[in-house]
Symmetry: C3
């Protein structure tokens, strides 16, 4: 199998995972209908890439290849039809979703570098690719985007994008750089889910401290 | 009257209807001031076209012709000043809004095809043109976008865009294709409003079923 | 000091002020973590310019100069670390924020004119530059954007942008036009904060009136 086919398969897996998870989140969190579940699933899968491409000032890649649209629609439709049984499969879906996060973070960072963006900018755009779709979905169903408030989601994406960019800057082999970044991102994400890790919160003056 | 003048008039009618309805929705749903009503009305009218043009990677058309800005601002201002009387005119406003939906869905799909997008992509962008502005408005006033949760709004837009695209692919006359798509969209929307039709909802295990 | 250096310093001051204030707003209003505060602070500082550049159909300027990213990240991080003491410094922060509003409104309008947009369109894009970042932040933390509902925020930005555009149309010196627009914007904003001025609200039939 060639590197390109491998990338395409991973990319479509990520798209499917995000659409499925996005659709399920929509079913769980809000009173939405068929249109809502399909739309929110597809936005979860494609929104991050669209945001990235808007900032790169190019036409969104997801609109140029029908396979992304088809896979995203399929994932969202499966979430609509089978949500009642899929809700019991939280762990395999989280692991699949972590693959999506890793693939999108790395692919987004590489695309930004190919368009001449600087290293830090490419890391940011890789992270935006990975977390952007879920953020738009959360806003549409009136949730504070979970990426801003709990769990480790942006951090593994940023670390994965940063490792990939650093490896490319050090002129490592492109495929090796991508695999390195994606694996580390996936690992941090899965460990974070398992141990329920969180990013630090802003220091506050607790009411209890004032009385003491 | 030439086809172009006819299209322009329809387009401006749609812009006015969306700005008016968007402004009224803002007045009803949230505690907003003059700036809020004008902004939300104009976003309702112009947001869908701006989203479409961002994805086509061109400058938003609404910024290139002052008439769109003027008509959108006028519609929103009328909503601000006369909301107390316009709230009693729900039915004519719904019918006017349905014209906006139809015109925008068809015009958006045609523009996407003219920029070389594929048929399915053009149907999606036509739908985005029609429902995008209202969706941004709903998010700004903290409502789950009604397009995701109730009534038939995206479905008539998608059907209208799809019919237009199909007719153009079959090399029908452009004006005929547009009139066909827009009429069917308008009809489905108005029938949907009249009979309070909804898209199907995700299947759920009802609490009642578990106890039985 | 040259005009360009002066502009850069003002621009970076505005970026810092918006990132600081945006981060503090995030800490106050929502249960967000480190990632959330940094992201929301940076979005407040850079979101308006990104929206403007998307509509101008160019790559966002903030991604092309690492100093904007660095200053935005620094402002947001200071908000994260020192929110407990900065909350007592509301007035100096409001004044600093008003500088950001003025600089962004004027700079946004000038950039739009340089890209060949019409005068009214440039005023609108100047206003979007000034208020866009705070609006995206508010949506992400589920607040009705304050720009739509209270205080004078969009109005000083629009007046500042309009004065600058008008002065440039009258072929005044560019630096003078910018200083004029920014000063008036800053003044209206600060006076508005001090006297708690609001834009007019839509007329309503008050329940009390009906009973009388």
């Amino acid at each position: 199998m060639e590197a390109e086919t491998f990338t395409l398969i991973l990319d479509l897996m990520g798209t499917f995972a995000f659409a499925l998870n996005g659709g399920l989140t929509a079913v769980r969190a809000a009173r939405v209908d068929l249109v809502g579940v399909i739309t929110l699933g597809m936005i979860t899968a494609m929104g991050g890439g669209i945001l990235r491409d808007m900032m790169l000032n190019v036409q969104p890649a997801t609109f140029q290849d029908w396979r992304y649209l088809a896979v995203a629609a399929a994932g969202a439709f499966i979430a609509f039809a089978f949500s009642w049984v899929l809700h019991r499969m939280a762990i395999p879906i989280e692991i699949l979703d972590a693959i999506g996060l890793s693939v999108f973070a790395v692919a987004g960072a590489i695309k930004a570098m190919n368009f001449g963006f600087g290293p830090v900018q490419s890391m940011i755009l890789g992270t935006v690719t990975a977390v952007g779709g879920g953020t738009i979905r959360d806003v549409l169903i009136l949730r504070v985007p979970s990426v801003l408030s709990e769990g480790l989601y942006a951090i593994p994406a940023f670390v994965g994008a940063a490792l990939t960019v650093a490896a490319l800057e050090l002129e490592l082999n492109g495929v090796a750089a991508a695999i390195l970044g994606a694996s580390v991102c996936w690992l941090i994400r899965v460990v974070g889910v398992y141990f329920k890790l969180n990013a630090p919160r802003p220091p506050r003056v607790e009411p209890g401290n004032l009385q003491g």
